[in-house]
């Protein structure tokens, strides 16, 4: 099972990579929106864990570009307001997480996304 972690922040990327690796997933990393889009279009990922705010292309834009069949995308955002959360939800992700989030919640969502894809 392969998971793509897309976040411009190195700290976030590395911790998520280690957390997901520890849980037995094969983890790939993308440092910005363009890299994430390239990775998704190039390879198959069961789950994409992606930040909304990234330089260049943001997570919502990537999600819209991916087309069908879309992988299960879990968006993460640090935006505070409800309207911003609503905008992220309109892009039809599998789930939207508000940073910071409890790690078990992320792991649960990743597991259920894989479950749903099967």
């Amino acid at each position: 099972v392969s998971v793509l972690v897309a976040d411009d922040e190195l700290g976030m990327r590395e911790t998520l990579t280690d957390i997901l690796s520890q849980s037995g997933y094969e983890v790939h990393e993308a440092a910005d929106g363009e890299a994430a889009l390239d990775a998704i279009l190039g390879d198959h990922f069961d789950v994409v864990v992606m930040d909304v705010r990234m330089p260049g292309r943001d997570g919502v834009s990537v999600l819209r570009e991916v087309g069908s069949p879309p992988p299960a995308v879990i968006l993460m955002t640090a935006y505070a307001s409800e309207s911003q959360l609503a905008e992220a939800r309109r892009a039809n992700p599998f789930a939207v997480l508000r940073k910071p989030f409890p790690v078990p919640q992320l792991l649960g969502l990743v597991a259920s996304a894989i479950e749903a894809a099967r």
Binding site: D18, R98, P102, V103
Partner: protein, 554 residues
């Protein structure tokens, strides 16, 4: 609006203060008094000069008149012997001189009834009265002595003679004597007349020219002895300019003194100096008064200006107050905006921290220990990032005056690097930081350094060289530079880095450099940025000489 408004108010304040120096003109206060004094002195000077000329003229006329009076008196006194000569001739011609004298005396028309006339004969060294006519103040057979005898003796020697004034009070008399050749040898005519100086004041003679213009006093002596007063048309002693003249009467020197009873040159000529003085004083007072009036008016105008200036200053103060309130409200709005931004920004480091803590708590069994160390390091850095953001927020909201304390830049850099440790691939180069001490607010300067250092970390994206250096400037100040080898900025971005809420980074609220700039400004220091895309960025912080506590060894 805020900044432009502040600048305008500042310019207005300059205009108002530039109008102040006109007040120095108030030192011309003494001018009216000076004008008054100068004009008064000039008027008095002209008055004295003209008065002198009038007095000179008066004196000249007085001397002329006195000379005329002297001649008149002399001729009047000279008539007395002529009157007496008839008696002398008569006494000589008759067989009995005494009878002839008396007969002649009774028919003599010029003889005054108040006078005494006597025929005196010298026999055996004695002067014996032989006959008396008129008032019987002498008797036949009387022997003349003293001044009378002296006068008769001089008459017998051939010269008309007079006595001094004899007696006292109402019985004062004066005598005249005529001798040969008018009379027979050793025979003299002696005339004695009462002296009443006061009578002269009522005499018609003294009311005619030239007496009428003068006060005249005549003494039968060369000195003004009261006992010898013969004639006075005014109370003695005389006042004002007095002319004295000696006239010879009967072998004696008489003193004639005269003073002007009124202005001799004419009333108008005499009044001219006073007119000049009066006009001068009036002109002086009017000039000074007009000048004073102008000064009062100007004072009033200045007072009005002062009042207006105060009102203007008050209006400006109110305007500034209003503006400060506006700025404060703007700042409150900005703080609200910022709180949202901070709320957002804190989420990222907290998310990383959360993940990191999860990994640590999970014991990290599947990952090598080296990687565990990196997670711990990262956790520290993210905490540092959160600290910087929170401190920026607090600093921006607080905006307090900087303290004045010694800050060792070397220690400060150590402190900043421990709060915000450099990523492991970032090399830190320090230069000239030993013994570089400035007078500054330690807490605020630490914030500045944290902002610059964390900015540098982010620009370098975890890999590069951070240089922190200090060096003396040519004018004795101190320059602290923080350089990175990061992504750099274009000129447009570099021009805006100090604006609040300006950021080109994917993360950050754009407050760090705004706070930095404000702290630096509050210290009277300067901050400049030099950046090139792809090469790096250098922030240079320049402290003025007054802020340098210890010289940097070069």
């Amino acid at each position: 609006m805020g900044i432009a408004g502040t600048r305008e108010v500042g310019q207005m304040a300059d205009v108002v203060s530039a109008a102040r120096p006109t007040r120095r003109e108030r030192t011309w206060r003494w001018l009216p008094a000076a004008i008054l004094v100068v004009l008064l002195v000039a008027a008095i000077g002209v008055f004295v000069t003209v008065r002198q000329a009038v007095d000179d003229q008066n004196g000249r006329i007085l001397r002329e008149r006195t000379g005329e009076i002297g001649l008149l008196l002399k001729s009047a006194v000279g008539n007395i012997p002529a009157t007496m000569s008839g008696l002398g001739v008569a006494s000589r011609l008759g067989s009995d001189p005494a009878q002839a004298f008396l007969r002649e005396a009774h028919i003599q028309p010029g003889l005054n009834p108040t006078q005494t006339v006597a025929l005196v004969h010298r026999s055996g060294g004695r002067l014996v009265v032989q006959a008396v006519a008129g008032v019987p103040t002498l008797g036949t057979g009387d022997v003349l002595t003293g001044s009378r005898a002296g006068a008769v003796d001089r008459a017998l020697a051939g010269r008309t003679a007079s006595t001094s004034v004899l007696g006292r009070g109402r019985t004062r008399v004066i005598g005249f004597a005529v001798g040969p050749p008018t009379t027979a040898p050793n025979t003299a005519i002696y005339l004695q007349a009462p002296v009443d100086p006061a009578a002269a004041a009522h005499s018609p003679v003294t009311h005619a020219r030239p007496f009428d213009e003068l006060s005249v006093v005549l003494y039968a002596s060369p000195r003004p002895e009261p006992s010898q007063l013969v004639l006075a048309t005014a109370p003695t002693p005389l006042h004002g300019q007095v002319v004295r003249q000696t006239i010879a009467v009967g072998g004696r020197s008489w003193l004639l003194a005269a003073a002007a009873a009124g202005p001799l040159v004419g009333t108008f000529a005499n009044a001219v100096p006073w007119v000049i003085l009066g006009v001068g004083v009036v002109i002086a007072i009017i000039s000074a008064g007009v000048l004073l009036l102008f000064q009062r008016r100007r004072d009033y105008a200045l007072a009005v200006v002062d009042v207006r200036t105060r009102e203007l200053a008050q209006s400006m103060a109110e305007l500034e107050e209003t503006q400060e309130k506006l700025v404060f409200q703007e700042r409150l709005a900005a703080i609200g905006q910022m709180a949202a931004a901070v709320g957002h920004e804190l989420r990222n480091p907290l998310a990383v921290l959360t993940n990191t803590l999860y990994l640590l708590r999970a014991g990290f069994s599947g990952v090598e220990a080296e990687r565990l160390g990196r997670h711990v390091d990262r956790a520290e850095r993210e905490v540092g990032a959160a600290v910087v953001i929170v401190e920026s927020l607090l600093e921006f909201a607080r905006a307090r005056e900087p303290l004045d304390e010694n800050v060792d830049l070397g220690d400060l850099v150590d402190e900043a690097l421990s709060v915000a440790p450099p990523p492991e691939a970032v090399e830190v180069v320090r230069e000239g930081l030993d013994a570089a001490v400035v007078r500054a607010d330690h807490q605020q300067l630490r914030q500045v350094l944290l902002n610059l250092v964390t900015n540098a970390y982010q620009a370098m994206d975890g890999d590069g060289v951070l240089s922190v250096g200090a060096r003396a400037t040519p004018d004795g100040g101190l320059e602290l530079t923080v350089s990175d080898t990061g992504s750099g900025m274009d000129a447009e971005t570099a021009a805006q880095v100090f604006d609040a809420f300006f950021t080109r980074k994917a993360k950050g609220i754009g407050l760090g450099l705004a706070v930095t700039k404000r702290i630096v400004d509050a210290h009277g220091a300067a901050i400049a940025v030099d950046s090139a895309v792809g090469i790096g960025t250098t922030f240079a912080l320049t402290f003025p000489p007054a802020r340098v506590a210890e010289a940097v060894p070069t």
